[in-house]
Protein backbone atom coordinates (compact mmCIF):
# COMPACT_ATOMS: atom_id res chain seq x y z
CA UNK A 1 0.00 0.00 0.00
CA UNK A 2 2.90 2.33 0.75
CA UNK A 3 4.27 1.72 -2.75
CA UNK A 4 0.84 2.57 -4.20
CA UNK A 5 0.88 5.75 -2.14
CA UNK A 6 4.40 6.80 -3.10
CA UNK A 7 4.25 5.92 -6.76
CA UNK A 8 0.72 7.13 -7.50
CA UNK A 9 1.82 10.58 -8.65
CA UNK A 10 4.52 9.43 -11.06
CA UNK A 11 4.53 10.73 -14.62
CA UNK A 12 5.76 7.94 -16.91
CA UNK A 13 6.59 10.11 -19.96
CA UNK A 14 9.83 11.49 -18.53
CA UNK A 15 10.73 8.10 -17.12
CA UNK A 16 10.30 6.52 -20.57
CA UNK A 17 12.46 9.27 -22.11
CA UNK A 18 15.20 8.80 -19.52
CA UNK A 19 14.93 5.02 -19.95
CA UNK A 20 15.39 5.26 -23.72
CA UNK A 21 18.39 7.55 -23.27
CA UNK A 22 19.95 5.22 -20.74
CA UNK A 23 19.25 2.21 -23.00
CA UNK A 24 20.98 3.96 -25.91
CA UNK A 25 23.95 4.97 -23.76
CA UNK A 26 24.38 1.54 -22.15
CA UNK A 27 23.98 -0.26 -25.49
CA UNK A 28 26.47 1.97 -27.30
CA UNK A 29 29.01 1.67 -24.49
CA UNK A 30 28.69 -2.12 -24.32
CA UNK A 31 28.79 -2.45 -28.13
CA UNK A 32 31.98 -0.39 -28.29
CA UNK A 33 33.59 -2.36 -25.49
CA UNK A 34 32.60 -5.72 -26.96
CA UNK A 35 33.88 -4.73 -30.41
CA UNK A 36 37.14 -3.45 -28.97
CA UNK A 37 37.74 -6.58 -26.87
CA UNK A 38 36.76 -8.85 -29.79
CA UNK A 39 39.14 -6.99 -32.08
CA UNK A 40 41.99 -7.23 -29.57
CA UNK A 41 41.41 -10.93 -29.05
CA UNK A 42 41.17 -11.48 -32.84
CA UNK A 43 44.55 -9.77 -33.35
CA UNK A 44 46.11 -11.72 -30.50
CA UNK A 45 44.96 -15.04 -31.96
CA UNK A 46 46.13 -14.05 -35.45
CA UNK A 47 49.51 -13.01 -34.15
CA UNK A 48 49.95 -16.19 -32.16
CA UNK A 49 49.62 -17.99 -35.48
CA UNK A 50 52.39 -16.06 -37.23
CA UNK A 51 55.00 -15.90 -34.50
CA UNK A 52 53.95 -12.49 -33.45
CA UNK A 53 56.44 -11.95 -30.72
CA UNK A 54 59.50 -11.39 -32.94
CA UNK A 55 60.26 -8.19 -34.81
CA UNK A 56 63.28 -7.58 -37.02
CA UNK A 57 64.20 -3.94 -36.91
CA UNK A 58 66.72 -1.76 -38.64
CA UNK A 59 67.37 1.94 -38.93
CA UNK A 60 65.72 3.82 -41.74
CA UNK A 61 68.22 4.18 -44.59
CA UNK A 62 68.58 7.64 -46.03
CA UNK A 63 70.99 9.28 -48.45
CA UNK A 64 73.10 10.47 -45.51
CA UNK A 65 73.14 7.24 -43.55
CA UNK A 66 73.91 4.86 -46.41
CA UNK A 67 77.63 4.81 -45.81
CA UNK A 68 77.77 6.02 -42.26
CA UNK A 69 77.91 4.22 -38.96
CA UNK A 70 74.55 5.72 -37.95
CA UNK A 71 72.67 2.82 -39.51
CA UNK A 72 74.16 0.54 -36.87
CA UNK A 73 72.76 -0.04 -33.40
CA UNK A 74 75.06 1.05 -30.57
CA UNK A 75 75.21 -0.93 -27.32
CA UNK A 76 73.32 1.93 -25.63
CA UNK A 77 70.55 1.81 -28.22
CA UNK A 78 70.28 -1.96 -27.80
CA UNK A 79 70.10 -1.61 -24.02
CA UNK A 80 67.48 1.12 -24.21
CA UNK A 81 65.35 -1.10 -26.43
CA UNK A 82 65.83 -4.09 -24.14
CA UNK A 83 64.64 -2.08 -21.15
CA UNK A 84 61.27 -1.20 -22.66
CA UNK A 85 58.47 -2.84 -20.66
CA UNK A 86 56.97 -4.32 -23.83
CA UNK A 87 60.25 -5.99 -24.85
CA UNK A 88 61.25 -9.46 -23.64
CA UNK A 89 64.76 -9.54 -25.13
CA UNK A 90 66.91 -8.17 -27.91
CA UNK A 91 69.45 -10.08 -30.01
CA UNK A 92 71.91 -8.64 -32.51
CA UNK A 93 72.27 -9.99 -36.04
CA UNK A 94 75.92 -10.90 -36.61
CA UNK A 95 77.10 -10.77 -40.27
CA UNK A 96 80.15 -12.06 -42.05
CA UNK A 97 83.06 -9.62 -42.20
CA UNK A 98 84.81 -11.57 -45.00
CA UNK A 99 83.83 -12.26 -48.63
CA UNK A 100 82.09 -15.55 -49.24
CA UNK A 101 80.64 -17.38 -52.22
CA UNK A 102 78.93 -20.68 -52.77
CA UNK A 103 78.57 -23.11 -55.66
CA UNK A 104 76.52 -26.17 -56.36
CA UNK A 105 77.04 -28.69 -59.16
CA UNK A 106 74.30 -30.73 -60.82
CA UNK A 107 75.92 -33.08 -63.33
CA UNK A 108 77.85 -30.86 -65.70
CA UNK A 109 75.73 -27.81 -64.86
CA UNK A 110 76.14 -25.74 -61.81
CA UNK A 111 75.67 -22.32 -60.34
CA UNK A 112 77.69 -20.06 -58.13
CA UNK A 113 76.85 -16.89 -56.23
CA UNK A 114 78.32 -14.38 -53.84
CA UNK A 115 76.92 -15.10 -50.41
CA UNK A 116 76.35 -13.38 -47.13
CA UNK A 117 75.63 -14.97 -43.78
CA UNK A 118 74.00 -13.81 -40.65
CA UNK A 119 73.54 -15.37 -37.25
CA UNK A 120 71.38 -14.88 -34.18
CA UNK A 121 71.29 -16.88 -30.93
CA UNK A 122 69.80 -20.33 -31.65
CA UNK A 123 67.10 -19.98 -28.98
CA UNK A 124 65.46 -17.22 -31.01
CA UNK A 125 65.24 -19.24 -34.22
CA UNK A 126 62.13 -21.25 -35.11
CA UNK A 127 62.05 -24.69 -36.72
CA UNK A 128 63.99 -27.91 -36.12
CA UNK A 129 67.56 -27.06 -35.10
CA UNK A 130 68.76 -30.64 -34.54
CA UNK A 131 71.28 -30.44 -37.39
CA UNK A 132 72.03 -26.73 -36.94
CA UNK A 133 75.18 -27.17 -34.82
CA UNK A 134 78.84 -26.42 -35.46
CA UNK A 135 82.03 -26.99 -33.47
CA UNK A 136 85.58 -25.82 -34.27
CA UNK A 137 87.15 -28.46 -36.53
CA UNK A 138 83.85 -29.44 -38.19
CA UNK A 139 84.31 -29.58 -41.96
CA UNK A 140 80.64 -29.20 -42.77
CA UNK A 141 78.77 -26.00 -42.04
CA UNK A 142 75.01 -26.15 -41.40
CA UNK A 143 72.91 -23.40 -42.97
CA UNK A 144 69.33 -22.32 -42.40
CA UNK A 145 67.51 -20.66 -45.26
CA UNK A 146 64.14 -18.94 -45.31
CA UNK A 147 61.35 -21.14 -46.68
CA UNK A 148 60.62 -18.37 -49.17
CA UNK A 149 64.07 -18.75 -50.77
CA UNK A 150 63.27 -22.33 -51.77
CA UNK A 151 59.97 -21.19 -53.27
CA UNK A 152 61.79 -18.43 -55.11
CA UNK A 153 64.19 -20.99 -56.54
CA UNK A 154 61.57 -23.61 -57.43
CA UNK A 155 59.05 -21.23 -58.98
CA UNK A 156 61.31 -18.42 -60.20
CA UNK A 157 64.88 -19.32 -60.88
CA UNK A 158 64.69 -23.05 -61.77
CA UNK A 159 62.04 -22.81 -64.57
CA UNK A 160 63.82 -19.85 -66.16
CA UNK A 161 67.20 -21.60 -66.20
CA UNK A 162 65.93 -25.05 -67.07
CA UNK A 163 66.98 -26.37 -63.70
CA UNK A 164 64.99 -29.07 -61.89
CA UNK A 165 62.74 -28.18 -59.00
CA UNK A 166 63.80 -29.60 -55.66
CA UNK A 167 61.94 -30.57 -52.51
CA UNK A 168 63.11 -29.40 -49.07
CA UNK A 169 64.18 -32.98 -48.29
CA UNK A 170 66.26 -33.25 -51.52
CA UNK A 171 67.88 -29.92 -50.91
CA UNK A 172 68.75 -30.93 -47.34
CA UNK A 173 70.75 -33.85 -48.70
CA UNK A 174 72.76 -31.78 -51.18
CA UNK A 175 76.16 -30.37 -50.34
CA UNK A 176 77.36 -26.90 -51.32
CA UNK A 177 80.87 -25.78 -51.79
CA UNK A 178 81.67 -22.62 -49.86
CA UNK A 179 84.60 -20.36 -50.60
CA UNK A 180 85.52 -18.12 -47.69
CA UNK A 181 88.13 -15.46 -48.32
CA UNK A 182 90.57 -15.24 -45.42
CA UNK A 183 92.52 -12.04 -46.07
CA UNK A 184 93.13 -13.03 -49.70
CA UNK A 185 93.56 -16.75 -49.04
CA UNK A 186 90.62 -18.91 -50.15
CA UNK A 187 89.34 -21.45 -47.68
CA UNK A 188 86.90 -24.09 -48.90
CA UNK A 189 84.23 -25.67 -46.78
CA UNK A 190 81.25 -27.89 -47.43
CA UNK A 191 77.83 -26.67 -46.37
CA UNK A 192 74.40 -28.22 -46.22
CA UNK A 193 70.85 -27.00 -45.61
CA UNK A 194 70.08 -27.94 -42.01
CA UNK A 195 66.55 -26.57 -42.06
CA UNK A 196 64.23 -23.76 -42.96
CA UNK A 197 63.06 -20.72 -41.04
CA UNK A 198 59.80 -18.83 -41.36
CA UNK A 199 60.75 -16.15 -38.90
CA UNK A 200 64.03 -14.75 -40.19
CA UNK A 201 64.42 -13.74 -43.86
CA UNK A 202 68.17 -14.31 -44.05
CA UNK A 203 70.77 -17.05 -44.60
CA UNK A 204 71.70 -18.17 -41.11
CA UNK A 205 74.75 -20.01 -39.85
CA UNK A 206 75.42 -20.98 -36.24
CA UNK A 207 76.27 -17.97 -34.09
CA UNK A 208 79.47 -19.53 -32.73
CA UNK A 209 80.72 -20.20 -36.28
CA UNK A 210 80.31 -16.58 -37.36
CA UNK A 211 81.94 -15.29 -34.18
CA UNK A 212 84.91 -17.63 -34.83
CA UNK A 213 85.09 -16.97 -38.58
CA UNK A 214 84.99 -13.17 -38.24
CA UNK A 215 87.95 -13.32 -35.90
CA UNK A 216 89.97 -15.94 -37.80
CA UNK A 217 89.21 -15.15 -41.45
CA UNK A 218 88.61 -11.39 -41.23
CA UNK A 219 90.83 -10.66 -38.26
CA UNK A 220 88.09 -8.42 -36.88
CA UNK A 221 86.00 -8.46 -33.77
CA UNK A 222 82.28 -8.38 -34.21
CA UNK A 223 80.89 -5.07 -35.41
CA UNK A 224 77.83 -3.31 -34.12
CA UNK A 225 74.77 -4.84 -35.74
CA UNK A 226 72.62 -3.11 -38.33
CA UNK A 227 69.64 -5.34 -37.63
CA UNK A 228 68.13 -6.50 -34.35
CA UNK A 229 65.81 -9.37 -33.57
CA UNK A 230 63.43 -8.20 -30.86
CA UNK A 231 61.11 -10.43 -28.87
CA UNK A 232 58.07 -8.44 -27.65
CA UNK A 233 55.15 -9.31 -25.43
CA UNK A 234 52.47 -7.87 -27.70
CA UNK A 235 53.43 -6.55 -31.13
CA UNK A 236 49.98 -5.00 -31.56
CA UNK A 237 50.76 -2.74 -28.64
CA UNK A 238 50.93 0.75 -30.18
CA UNK A 239 53.68 1.71 -27.71
CA UNK A 240 56.17 -0.40 -29.71
CA UNK A 241 55.10 1.21 -32.93
CA UNK A 242 55.45 4.68 -31.44
CA UNK A 243 58.90 3.87 -30.08
CA UNK A 244 60.08 2.63 -33.47
CA UNK A 245 58.66 5.66 -35.24
CA UNK A 246 60.16 8.07 -32.71
CA UNK A 247 63.62 6.57 -33.23
CA UNK A 248 63.35 6.22 -37.04
CA UNK A 249 63.55 2.44 -36.79
CA UNK A 250 61.84 0.25 -39.39
CA UNK A 251 60.27 -3.17 -39.25
CA UNK A 252 58.72 -4.99 -42.15
CA UNK A 253 56.75 -7.24 -39.86
CA UNK A 254 53.10 -7.83 -40.56
CA UNK A 255 52.17 -7.45 -36.93
CA UNK A 256 53.11 -3.79 -36.90
CA UNK A 257 50.28 -3.25 -39.34
CA UNK A 258 48.11 -4.72 -36.65
CA UNK A 259 49.58 -2.24 -34.21
CA UNK A 260 48.60 0.61 -36.55
CA UNK A 261 45.16 -0.95 -36.93
CA UNK A 262 44.96 -1.39 -33.20
CA UNK A 263 45.97 2.25 -32.70
CA UNK A 264 43.30 3.45 -35.11
CA UNK A 265 40.70 1.15 -33.59
CA UNK A 266 41.59 2.29 -30.07
CA UNK A 267 41.14 5.91 -31.18
CA UNK A 268 37.77 5.25 -32.86
CA UNK A 269 36.70 3.04 -29.96
CA UNK A 270 37.78 5.73 -27.51
CA UNK A 271 35.74 8.40 -29.31
CA UNK A 272 32.70 6.12 -29.41
CA UNK A 273 33.14 5.25 -25.75
CA UNK A 274 33.28 8.96 -24.84
CA UNK A 275 30.09 9.62 -26.85
CA UNK A 276 28.43 6.64 -25.14
CA UNK A 277 29.54 7.88 -21.72
CA UNK A 278 28.18 11.37 -22.42
CA UNK A 279 24.81 9.92 -23.50
CA UNK A 280 24.81 7.66 -20.45
CA UNK A 281 25.70 10.55 -18.17
CA UNK A 282 22.92 12.73 -19.59
CA UNK A 283 20.43 9.87 -19.29
CA UNK A 284 21.48 9.23 -15.69
CA UNK A 285 21.23 12.95 -14.95
CA UNK A 286 17.74 12.90 -16.38
CA UNK A 287 16.93 9.87 -14.19
CA UNK A 288 18.33 11.70 -11.19
CA UNK A 289 16.16 14.75 -11.90
CA UNK A 290 13.17 12.50 -12.41
CA UNK A 291 13.74 10.87 -9.02
CA UNK A 292 14.15 14.22 -7.28
CA UNK A 293 11.00 15.45 -9.01
CA UNK A 294 9.17 12.31 -7.88
CA UNK A 295 10.21 13.01 -4.32
CA UNK A 296 8.89 16.57 -4.64
CA UNK A 297 5.62 15.35 -6.19
CA UNK A 298 5.21 13.01 -3.24
CA UNK A 299 6.47 15.50 -0.67
CA UNK A 300 3.13 15.49 1.17
CA UNK A 301 2.99 11.70 1.36
CA UNK A 302 6.64 11.39 2.41
CA UNK A 303 6.41 14.07 5.09
CA UNK A 304 3.14 12.66 6.45
CA UNK A 305 4.47 9.12 6.56
CA UNK A 306 7.58 10.31 8.38
CA UNK A 307 5.36 12.18 10.85
CA UNK A 308 3.38 8.98 11.40
CA UNK A 309 6.52 7.10 12.43
CA UNK A 310 7.66 5.52 9.17
CA UNK A 311 11.45 5.14 9.06
CA UNK A 312 13.25 6.97 6.22
CA UNK A 313 14.69 3.64 5.02
CA UNK A 314 11.16 2.25 4.61
CA UNK A 315 10.36 5.11 2.22
CA UNK A 316 13.68 4.78 0.44
CA UNK A 317 13.20 1.12 -0.52
CA UNK A 318 10.15 1.47 -2.86
CA UNK A 319 11.93 4.14 -4.93
CA UNK A 320 15.12 2.12 -5.19
CA UNK A 321 13.18 -1.06 -6.02
CA UNK A 322 11.47 0.62 -8.96
CA UNK A 323 14.72 2.13 -10.26
CA UNK A 324 16.65 -1.12 -9.79
CA UNK A 325 13.94 -3.12 -11.60
CA UNK A 326 14.01 -0.62 -14.44
CA UNK A 327 17.80 -0.65 -14.69
CA UNK A 328 17.90 -4.46 -14.62
CA UNK A 329 15.50 -4.35 -17.58
CA UNK A 330 17.62 -1.75 -19.41
CA UNK A 331 20.94 -3.55 -18.80
CA UNK A 332 19.39 -6.93 -19.57
CA UNK A 333 17.83 -5.53 -22.76
CA UNK A 334 21.14 -3.98 -23.85
CA UNK A 335 23.00 -7.25 -23.17
CA UNK A 336 20.36 -9.26 -25.04
CA UNK A 337 20.54 -6.90 -28.02
CA UNK A 338 24.33 -7.10 -27.96
CA UNK A 339 24.24 -10.89 -27.77
CA UNK A 340 21.85 -11.10 -30.75
CA UNK A 341 24.01 -8.71 -32.79
CA UNK A 342 27.12 -10.62 -31.78
CA UNK A 343 25.62 -13.91 -32.96
CA UNK A 344 24.64 -12.32 -36.25
CA UNK A 345 28.09 -10.77 -36.68
CA UNK A 346 29.80 -14.06 -35.82
CA UNK A 347 27.87 -15.93 -38.50
CA UNK A 348 28.45 -13.11 -41.02
CA UNK A 349 32.19 -13.04 -40.23
CA UNK A 350 32.27 -16.85 -40.40
CA UNK A 351 31.21 -16.66 -44.04
CA UNK A 352 34.37 -14.67 -44.74
CA UNK A 353 36.49 -17.17 -42.78
CA UNK A 354 36.96 -14.82 -39.83
CA UNK A 355 36.45 -16.53 -36.49
CA UNK A 356 35.44 -14.07 -33.76
CA UNK A 357 35.35 -15.02 -30.09
CA UNK A 358 32.16 -16.72 -28.93
CA UNK A 359 29.70 -15.03 -26.56
CA UNK A 360 30.02 -11.77 -24.68
CA UNK A 361 33.35 -10.62 -23.29
CA UNK A 362 33.86 -10.77 -19.50
CA UNK A 363 34.79 -7.08 -19.52
CA UNK A 364 31.37 -6.23 -20.97
CA UNK A 365 29.55 -8.06 -18.17
CA UNK A 366 31.75 -6.41 -15.52
CA UNK A 367 31.10 -2.98 -17.08
CA UNK A 368 27.34 -3.64 -17.01
CA UNK A 369 27.60 -4.53 -13.33
CA UNK A 370 29.64 -1.40 -12.63
CA UNK A 371 27.07 0.79 -14.44
CA UNK A 372 24.31 -0.81 -12.38
CA UNK A 373 26.13 -0.36 -9.06
CA UNK A 374 27.19 3.23 -9.84
CA UNK A 375 23.67 4.20 -10.94
CA UNK A 376 21.98 2.68 -7.90
CA UNK A 377 24.58 4.13 -5.51
CA UNK A 378 24.17 7.68 -6.90
CA UNK A 379 20.38 7.42 -6.95
CA UNK A 380 20.36 5.98 -3.41
CA UNK A 381 22.38 8.94 -2.13
CA UNK A 382 20.07 11.40 -3.89
CA UNK A 383 16.87 9.73 -2.62
CA UNK A 384 18.22 9.45 0.92
CA UNK A 385 19.13 13.12 0.94
CA UNK A 386 15.76 14.10 -0.57
CA UNK A 387 13.81 12.14 2.06
CA UNK A 388 15.89 13.58 4.88
CA UNK A 389 15.24 17.06 3.53
CA UNK A 390 11.48 16.48 3.33
CA UNK A 391 11.52 15.03 6.85
CA UNK A 392 13.21 18.23 8.07
CA UNK A 393 16.40 16.37 9.09
CA UNK A 394 18.63 18.45 6.80
CA UNK A 395 18.35 22.06 5.70
CA UNK A 396 18.90 21.50 1.97
CA UNK A 397 18.16 18.75 -0.56
CA UNK A 398 21.33 19.55 -2.54
Amino acid sequence: MMRKLLLSRQKPAQLIGSGLGAFLGISLLLFTLQAFLDFKSFLTEKEALIHPEYLIINKRISMLSSFSESRKFSAQEQNELAELPEVVRVAAFRSNQFPASGSIMNGNRGMAAELFFESVPSEMIDGNLERFKWEIGDEQLPILVPSNYLKLYNFGYAPSQGMPQVSPQTLSQMTFRLRLDSMGIPIYKNAFIAGYTERIPSILVPDNFLEYANQVYAGKGNEEPSRLLVEVKDPSNPAILHYLEDHAYESNQEQLKNARLSSAFTLIGGILAVIALVILLLAFLSFFQYTQLSLQRNAYEIKTLLDLGVRPSQLFIPFIQVLAAMLVGLCGGALLLLWLCKNWLNSAAGEYGIALSEGLQGGVLITTLLIFVAFIAIQALGIRKGIQYLGGYTSSSN
Binding site: M1, L5, L308, G309, P312
Partner: protein
Protein backbone atom coordinates in the same frame (compact mmCIF):
# COMPACT_ATOMS: atom_id res chain seq x y z
CA UNK B 1 6.57 8.48 29.38
CA UNK B 2 7.93 11.78 30.62
CA UNK B 3 8.30 14.92 28.53
CA UNK B 4 10.22 17.86 29.99
CA UNK B 5 10.57 21.34 28.52
CA UNK B 6 13.26 23.65 29.86
CA UNK B 7 13.12 27.32 28.87
CA UNK B 8 11.69 26.34 25.53
CA UNK B 9 10.27 28.87 23.14
CA UNK B 10 9.76 28.91 19.36
CA UNK B 11 12.13 31.43 17.83
CA UNK B 12 9.34 33.28 15.94
CA UNK B 13 7.53 33.92 19.27
CA UNK B 14 10.54 35.41 21.00
CA UNK B 15 9.83 38.94 22.19
CA UNK B 16 6.06 38.65 21.74
CA UNK B 17 5.07 36.57 24.77
CA UNK B 18 3.38 37.96 27.88
CA UNK B 19 4.88 37.61 31.37
CA UNK B 20 2.23 35.13 32.54
CA UNK B 21 2.81 32.78 29.58
CA UNK B 22 4.14 29.27 30.19
CA UNK B 23 6.68 29.69 27.40
CA UNK B 24 10.32 29.92 28.43
CA UNK B 25 9.66 28.10 31.72
CA UNK B 26 10.00 24.53 32.91
CA UNK B 27 7.07 22.30 31.91
CA UNK B 28 6.50 18.62 32.37
CA UNK B 29 4.06 16.09 30.87
CA UNK B 30 3.90 12.67 32.48
CA UNK B 31 1.72 9.82 31.24
CA UNK B 32 -0.97 8.72 32.07
CA UNK B 33 -2.00 12.24 33.04
CA UNK B 34 -4.10 14.27 30.61
CA UNK B 35 -3.28 17.88 29.77
CA UNK B 36 -5.19 20.60 27.95
CA UNK B 37 -3.20 23.45 26.45
CA UNK B 38 -5.47 26.47 26.17
CA UNK B 39 -4.75 29.66 24.29
CA UNK B 40 -6.13 31.97 21.70
CA UNK B 41 -5.02 31.95 18.11
CA UNK B 42 -1.38 32.68 17.41
CA UNK B 43 -0.13 31.91 20.89
CA UNK B 44 1.86 28.85 19.79
CA UNK B 45 -0.39 25.87 20.71
CA UNK B 46 0.41 23.97 17.49
CA UNK B 47 4.05 24.99 17.76
CA UNK B 48 4.31 23.46 21.21
CA UNK B 49 2.73 20.16 20.11
CA UNK B 50 4.94 19.95 17.01
CA UNK B 51 7.97 20.65 19.16
CA UNK B 52 7.02 17.69 21.39
CA UNK B 53 6.56 15.57 18.27
CA UNK B 54 10.01 16.50 16.96
CA UNK B 55 8.66 17.89 13.70
CA UNK B 56 9.47 21.50 14.64
CA UNK B 57 13.05 22.34 15.46
CA UNK B 58 13.19 26.11 15.36
CA UNK B 59 13.08 26.68 19.10
CA UNK B 60 15.39 27.66 21.92
CA UNK B 61 15.71 25.70 25.15
CA UNK B 62 15.60 21.96 25.54
CA UNK B 63 13.02 19.19 25.34
CA UNK B 64 13.73 15.80 26.91
CA UNK B 65 11.79 12.61 26.25
CA UNK B 66 12.30 10.11 29.06
CA UNK B 67 15.50 11.97 29.93
CA UNK B 68 16.97 12.08 26.42
CA UNK B 69 17.37 15.31 24.46
CA UNK B 70 14.81 15.25 21.64
CA UNK B 71 16.84 17.40 19.23
CA UNK B 72 19.59 14.77 19.29
CA UNK B 73 17.31 11.91 18.20
CA UNK B 74 18.38 10.21 14.96
CA UNK B 75 15.74 9.98 12.18
CA UNK B 76 15.19 6.31 13.05
CA UNK B 77 14.85 6.96 16.76
CA UNK B 78 12.40 9.75 16.06
CA UNK B 79 10.43 7.39 13.82
CA UNK B 80 10.35 4.78 16.56
CA UNK B 81 9.08 7.32 19.09
CA UNK B 82 6.30 8.38 16.70
CA UNK B 83 5.38 4.78 15.89
CA UNK B 84 5.39 3.37 19.41
CA UNK B 85 5.15 6.14 21.99
CA UNK B 86 3.44 9.21 20.57
CA UNK B 87 0.30 9.27 18.43
CA UNK B 88 -0.58 12.59 16.86
CA UNK B 89 -3.79 14.11 15.53
CA UNK B 90 -2.77 16.96 13.26
CA UNK B 91 -4.84 20.10 12.98
CA UNK B 92 -4.67 19.77 9.19
CA UNK B 93 -5.51 16.04 9.58
CA UNK B 94 -2.79 14.71 7.20
CA UNK B 95 -4.92 12.00 5.63
CA UNK B 96 -4.13 10.59 2.20
CA UNK B 97 -6.97 11.75 -0.06
CA UNK B 98 -6.24 9.16 -2.76
CA UNK B 99 -6.70 6.27 -0.28
CA UNK B 100 -10.03 5.15 1.16
CA UNK B 101 -10.77 5.82 4.81
CA UNK B 102 -10.20 2.14 5.53
CA UNK B 103 -6.83 2.20 3.74
CA UNK B 104 -5.84 5.28 5.72
CA UNK B 105 -6.65 3.47 8.95
CA UNK B 106 -5.06 0.22 7.84
CA UNK B 107 -1.87 1.83 6.51
CA UNK B 108 -0.04 1.90 9.83
CA UNK B 109 -1.10 -1.68 10.52
CA UNK B 110 0.68 -2.57 7.30
CA UNK B 111 3.75 -0.49 7.99
CA UNK B 112 4.23 -1.14 11.69
CA UNK B 113 2.85 -4.70 11.67
CA UNK B 114 0.03 -3.97 14.14
CA UNK B 115 -2.69 -6.51 14.86
CA UNK B 116 -5.86 -4.45 14.72
CA UNK B 117 -8.40 -7.25 14.30
CA UNK B 118 -11.89 -5.77 14.19
CA UNK B 119 -10.90 -2.52 15.90
CA UNK B 120 -11.19 -0.46 12.73
CA UNK B 121 -14.85 -1.32 12.19
CA UNK B 122 -15.64 -1.15 15.92
CA UNK B 123 -14.13 2.31 16.41
CA UNK B 124 -15.60 3.59 13.13
CA UNK B 125 -19.02 2.41 14.31
CA UNK B 126 -18.55 4.23 17.63
CA UNK B 127 -17.78 7.52 15.84
CA UNK B 128 -20.44 7.06 13.14
CA UNK B 129 -18.10 6.83 10.17
CA UNK B 130 -18.63 3.16 9.16
CA UNK B 131 -20.18 4.26 5.86
CA UNK B 132 -17.10 6.31 5.08
CA UNK B 133 -14.63 3.39 5.27
CA UNK B 134 -14.80 2.34 1.58
CA UNK B 135 -14.76 5.93 0.31
CA UNK B 136 -11.66 7.91 -0.67
CA UNK B 137 -10.84 10.39 2.07
CA UNK B 138 -10.66 13.18 -0.47
CA UNK B 139 -14.46 13.16 -0.90
CA UNK B 140 -15.36 13.03 2.82
CA UNK B 141 -16.54 16.08 4.74
CA UNK B 142 -14.08 17.77 7.10
CA UNK B 143 -15.99 16.42 10.10
CA UNK B 144 -15.76 12.88 8.76
CA UNK B 145 -12.09 13.32 7.93
CA UNK B 146 -11.43 14.64 11.46
CA UNK B 147 -12.99 11.54 12.97
CA UNK B 148 -10.93 9.31 10.66
CA UNK B 149 -7.78 11.19 11.74
CA UNK B 150 -8.68 10.67 15.43
CA UNK B 151 -9.29 6.96 14.76
CA UNK B 152 -5.95 6.58 12.98
CA UNK B 153 -4.17 7.94 16.06
CA UNK B 154 -6.18 5.77 18.47
CA UNK B 155 -5.42 2.61 16.48
CA UNK B 156 -1.64 2.88 16.80
CA UNK B 157 0.61 2.13 19.78
CA UNK B 158 1.31 5.09 22.06
CA UNK B 159 2.10 6.22 25.57
CA UNK B 160 1.06 9.80 24.87
CA UNK B 161 -1.71 10.95 22.56
CA UNK B 162 -1.07 14.43 21.22
CA UNK B 163 -4.03 16.19 19.58
CA UNK B 164 -4.00 19.60 17.95
CA UNK B 165 -7.52 21.10 18.16
CA UNK B 166 -9.06 17.72 17.27
CA UNK B 167 -12.72 18.68 17.54
CA UNK B 168 -12.73 21.90 15.53
CA UNK B 169 -15.00 20.45 12.81
CA UNK B 170 -17.26 18.31 15.05
CA UNK B 171 -20.63 19.12 16.49
CA UNK B 172 -21.28 18.64 20.20
CA UNK B 173 -22.77 15.19 19.79
CA UNK B 174 -19.82 13.89 17.81
CA UNK B 175 -17.35 15.60 20.16
CA UNK B 176 -18.94 13.71 23.02
CA UNK B 177 -18.71 10.37 21.21
CA UNK B 178 -15.07 11.01 20.29
CA UNK B 179 -14.23 12.14 23.83
CA UNK B 180 -15.69 8.98 25.33
CA UNK B 181 -13.78 6.73 22.93
CA UNK B 182 -10.54 8.62 23.57
CA UNK B 183 -11.00 8.32 27.34
CA UNK B 184 -11.53 4.56 27.01
CA UNK B 185 -8.53 4.02 24.80
CA UNK B 186 -6.28 6.13 27.05
CA UNK B 187 -7.41 4.11 30.02
CA UNK B 188 -6.88 0.78 28.26
CA UNK B 189 -3.38 1.78 27.17
CA UNK B 190 -2.59 3.60 30.44
CA UNK B 191 -1.52 6.48 28.20
CA UNK B 192 -1.41 10.24 28.69
CA UNK B 193 -2.85 13.06 26.61
CA UNK B 194 -1.69 16.48 25.52
CA UNK B 195 -4.42 18.34 23.67
CA UNK B 196 -4.67 21.89 22.44
CA UNK B 197 -7.92 23.86 22.26
CA UNK B 198 -9.13 27.40 22.01
CA UNK B 199 -11.30 27.05 25.11
CA UNK B 200 -10.98 25.39 28.53
CA UNK B 201 -13.91 23.08 27.84
CA UNK B 202 -13.19 19.61 26.57
CA UNK B 203 -15.47 16.60 25.94
CA UNK B 204 -13.11 14.25 27.79
CA UNK B 205 -11.38 13.90 31.15
CA UNK B 206 -8.59 16.45 31.72
CA UNK B 207 -6.23 16.36 34.71
CA UNK B 208 -4.42 19.61 34.15
CA UNK B 209 -5.01 22.76 32.13
CA UNK B 210 -2.16 24.99 30.97
CA UNK B 211 -2.36 28.45 29.43
CA UNK B 212 0.07 29.81 26.90
Amino acid sequence: MRIQLKNSIPIPLKGSISADSNWNKELEFISPKTYLICAGSGKGKSSLLHMLHGSRRDYEGQIRIDGEVLSEFSPNKLAQMRAKKMAFVFQDLRLFPQLTAFENLNLLQNIHGLELGTKISEYAERLGVSDCLPKPCGILSLGQQQRIAILRALLQDFEFLVMDEPFSHLDEENQKKAGQLIDEVLKSKNAGLVMSALSENAPLHIDERMFL
